[in-house]
Amino acid sequence: MGIDTGGTYTDGVLVDLSSQLVVAKSKARTTHENLTVGIKNCLEILKSQSLPEELFSNIKLVALSTTLATNAIVEGKGGEVGLLLLGHGLEGPIPTSHVMEAPGGHDIKGREKQELNLQEVRRALLAMKGKIDALAVSGYLSVRNPVHELMVRDEAQKILNIPVVCAHQLTTALGFYERSVTAVLNARLLPTIAELLESVRKVLNIYGIEAPLMVVKGDGSLMSESVTREKPIETILSGPAASIIGATFLTGRKDAVVVDIGGTTTDVASLEAGKPMLNPEGAAVGGLLTRVNAARISTFGVGGDSELWVEKGELKIGPQRVWPLSVGVNLYPHLLDELEHVWTTDRKTKEVSGGQPCDCYILLRQPDMDNLSPMEKQLIEILRIAPHNIFKIAAFSGKDVSMLGLKSLVDREIVARASLTPTDLLHVRGDYSQWDCRGAEVGARIQAWRLKRDLDQFTNQALKAVERRIAGVILQSLLNDIGYRTDILKEPLLKPFVERVLGISTEQFQCMVKLDKPIIAIGAPVENFMPQVAELLNTELIIPEHAEVANAVGAATGQVMEQFDILIRPSPEGGFIIHAPWERKDFLELADAVDYAASEGEKYILHSAQRAGAVEVNVTVTREDVYSNTSQRWEEELFIETRIEVMAVGRPQWQDEKQGGQKVC
């Protein structure tokens, strides 16, 4: 069973592992205040489908992909965390106020930069005692030698009796600031994730499910309940990664561009050899940079509910998300009359600036009136009775239609704005009939008139623009993947080519690109937009069945994967130094260093993979000797380092199974 608690919906799927088929699926609203309510509703819907009884009782594994950690970080929730820095201070925002520093740390060769002053360490620990629920320890260049962090951990466990998180155990990447932030966030999430796992377990118990519970990581692989309790930070941004894994399972494709079109955004990610490409910089959450491995996802502000707006005779798309007019009119039919009145009368009387003539506003919740300006109070009073078009609101309030000042109410999510969207145009074209077509049409007519087009011309032109925009963001994302950062539509030298690729211009010459992999499209409006997008990019389009629950499928079908590098470098004093995640060690001969790194690395990763819940583990140890030529031909090549990449891949352990492993070299 795969469960995904997403931003709007909690999805559940049952996947039959022998036939590799999705046998049941369900969707329930995500309950942000308490995620387990939504999960329980989701299971209830699954259960209520007349499935064979044994299907539910035979569940061998429950895999969860959750936004909980991401949300908790963004909202600043979690436990009180102390941060003890060794050998270096920090500049930049740190997500805790209990920060202490003690002498220690290493240099780039892993030699002691400063002796660890245990007396200072004890003093710092005692100063934080009683004020914190968990401790994060981060040493300068601890990724080249973890010994100080490990010594402090032992000391802290004696004195504080609380969980201790060492930065070097979460990442082997350079970047003292990001490592420290990662350790603090991880420590802060410990109680939050423990609480979630306990309540999910309770829900599962209600349904008699005793299978192992696993959680999706940001790179799309799975980890066991116990590892999740130690490394909750690994779950950030796991939703998009799960959807990529789901896409590969549903299509059987290993190399593809995965495009997920939502209401607000389009997410683009690359799938390589069945795995999502990772972000080399690490994941950023809530404005904080971490060193957590996460799939590289490019997110763009264009989706089914992006606002289509007209400014200075030009049509623009997004990035603002609005209610489609078809949805607004469906819920509040009187808005149709108001929009008709805009069409027949208002549009001719007054030019609207800072908004669109078809904008309507809906009150979402009763705000605390004390925090509102007199003008805002008046607007709330008007909207409390019924949602209205802006001309109506202007008439009621006696204000100019361009000066209503509704934006700050929208920003605070007190009021929602409805306006023309791609979803509306699909209603106009007849592709959709889910909401109110008339509302969509009158909105489109108003915007068409502002661009001096007739309705059909406008609808086709605007939908074409959306397709081009999506094709453009896919191209942009692929360029980002190869390290090209600039905006392809702004870079002066690229612009003429990109415009011709997207069919915006054909003047003087044409230009074509051809993607060398297919596009897998998931999300609601993909059937309507993506065929044309794939045509612009000259590639195959795959829209898999069950695409709407791809995240949950990805959770259910994920694998356990652990990976790290061991560095072996020449020592300035002669001999070689191993920098491994667990230690730094000297050797006289390279061969001995390599043997030691490979055999210890294998033991270490097999243990980690089994702790992470893997069975049928394949361990691969790859040695890469890095040499570089010099410009002096009589010199031999320069030895830079040997990298030992240790990787373990296994499938998650099912209920009533024993663990084992094998090695491939």
Binding site: I108, L141, Y177, T630
Partner: protein, 212 residues
Amino acid sequence: MMFSFEEVQSAVMAGEMDKVVELTRKAIEEKLQPVSIINEGYIPAMNVVGKRFKNGEMFVPEVLMAARSMNAGMELVKPLLVEGEVQVKGTILLGTVKGDLHDIGKNLVGMMIESGGYVVIDLGTDLEPEKFVEAVKEYKPEIVGMSALLTTTMLAMKETIEVLKEEGLRDGLKIMIGGAPVSKEFADEIDADGYAPDAASATELVEKLINA
């Protein structure tokens, strides 16, 4: 005799320091714009020097003499410049890495870059990675240039880049490397942004990196 740009140019190219100083004095007496003495006198000359050096028509000692004679003239012109008149195109930190005492190539690069309108801060030789870190924090340069003349000290360049990463200073900084044993392949391997085989190309590389 009237002052002529051609004369000062050939004096710079020939590395005749006294003559450059004398001609510069004359130019100042004749109320020539200080900026044009630099832009129309020294810089075109140094550009020619750079090209000749690259083509093997000039050698290191001659280039050093040319650069020194230009600097001697520059000393006279500098005090006359109105602030902001000469646009500073960027700041470049230069240094020879830990364990390496060679500095001729690095000094030459420094003078060539300076003559291209950049501020060059020379940190010296045998520099621990921490020295680069401190200087990057203090001067906030656009580019850090590292030099190494020994194959044994090339790895110190890699380590310096790694320490800059640990300190969170690598992003937003361009790193260029040079020195006799250094190659393009090595630059790519250690994640430097560019490599220049000689002082003239170093100036071109600076232009390229600043405008990238």
